[in-house]
């Protein structure tokens, strides 16, 4: 919570393909006056669904990379000798292999190597039809998602809410449990974990729950495709019980999900029963945040 009383909800899944983005977009549609952030910068997708009416592009810096200035280079080969990432050959640096350690830059006797931040990609500040704000980013190939980038894009989003009457920040979190996830959950009031009853789904869910507990962030679970495997679904519920995490809802396997995706529609515009279920999940989520 912050000074103007907005709430921040982050949607996470651990494993990819569980329906996290679809559910995030559904939640977003239930509220006017919100800010949406797509933190899955490795494979940003939400913009395809939200169809922003305008966007402003900004650059962000990635990791530092070395480059050899061939006019100064004396071809002594010391850089190639010290590089442990096989990134230097024929007095040029392979940008994809360069790890960014700066060893060559520091060791070069002729000062022929530069070492500066590369452009990691772009982030976009968008406005939606209902005048909500939306942020997403695109990385250049070979660049890794980083906590820094997620922090940066979230900060832009939060700044845009500060002087407004917007009530909710909805964060579509990155997959996995690494540093980008840590950055995406900072300051969150509540985390919604979208999981599916598959072996890998449960595996990833448990790791995520552990992480959120250490951050003392309240959470709830949505079991998507819940009827895919009853036994595994039970396992999820047992785990939730044990950790005292509420099950916010279960959504049976529904081909409308995919259909909506294909047509670029929001699931809530397509299927009434799913809309009802998701709306009740959203109301429940809100009740947990307010208490």
């Amino acid at each position: 919570m912050s000074d103007n009383g907005y709430k921040q909800i982050v949607i996470l899944s651990g494993k990819g393909g569980t329906g996290k983005t679809t559910i995030s977009a559904a939640f977003a549609s239930f509220e006017n006056n919100k800010v949406i952030v797509d933190c899955d910068v490795d494979a940003a997708n939400m913009h395809l669904m939200l169809k922003p009416k305008s966007e402003i592009s900004h650059e962000f810096s990635g990791g530092k990379k070395a480059a050899i200035n061939n006019e100064i280079c004396t071809q002594c080969g010391l850089c190639e000798t010290v590089c442990r990432f096989d990134a230097i050959s024929n007095f040029t640096v392979d940008q994809l292999k360069c790890e960014g350690c700066g060893f060559c830059f520091r060791v070069c006797p002729a000062n022929a190597i530069t070492f500066s931040p590369s452009i990691g990609g772009n982030y976009f500040e968008c406005e939606l039809e209902d005048e909500s704000k939306f942020f997403y980013a695109k990385l250049f190939p070979g660049e890794g998602n980083s906590g820094k980038l997620v922090s940066e894009i979230k900060k832009k989003a939060i700044n845009s809410i500060k002087d407004s009457s917007r009530k909710f920040v909805i964060v579509d979190g990155p997959p996995g449990i690494g540093c980008p996830v840590n950055a995406s959950i900072s300051k969150a009031d509540f985390a919604v974990l979208v999981t599916e009853p598959t072996l890998s789904g449960v595996h990833d869910l448990k790791r995520l729950v552990k992480l959120l507990i250490t951050f003392k962030i309240k959470m709830g679970i949505i079991i998507n495709k819940s009827d895919l495997n009853e036994a595994v679904a039970e396992q999820i519920k047992d785990h939730a019980d044990e950790k005292e995490i509420p099950i916010l809802g279960e959504i049976p396997f529904n081909s409308e999900f995919v259909k909506a995706l294909i047509e670029g529609n929001n699931i809530v515009d397509v299927d009434e029963s799913v809309k009802k279920e998701l709306l009740s999940i959203w109301e429940k989520t809100k009740s947990y945040i307010i208490n």
Binding site: S2, D3, K148, S151, F215
Partner: protein
Amino acid sequence: MNQEQTEEMKNTKEKIAFTSTGGSMESLLSEQFGRCQYFIIVDPETGKFDAISNLGEQMQSGAGPKAAELIHHHGANVVVTGHVGDKAEDVLKRVNIKIVTGYKGNIKVKDALTEYLSK
């Protein structure tokens, strides 16, 4: 840590580092440790404070431990923040900085100071 250093710790005055979103006591506290914008380091006896900008905000990785190093070099022995990561925690413990977590970003640094001192 040897005997001498332990003695030194006992004799030094308390200096409290707050993670902050701005450079003054009026700024809101930052929940993030490694990637906060500023550290406000307060001497509670005199009420004087230093605002140190945290380079960790711009770091690709390892911002937490680096932030611990920063406040250690500025003589802090308490840190008040939202959450501290494992790696940063290790460093803070190594240099005997007391960790106070669980603060939310809706409180001003000066109020967090009052709250901390009243405990």
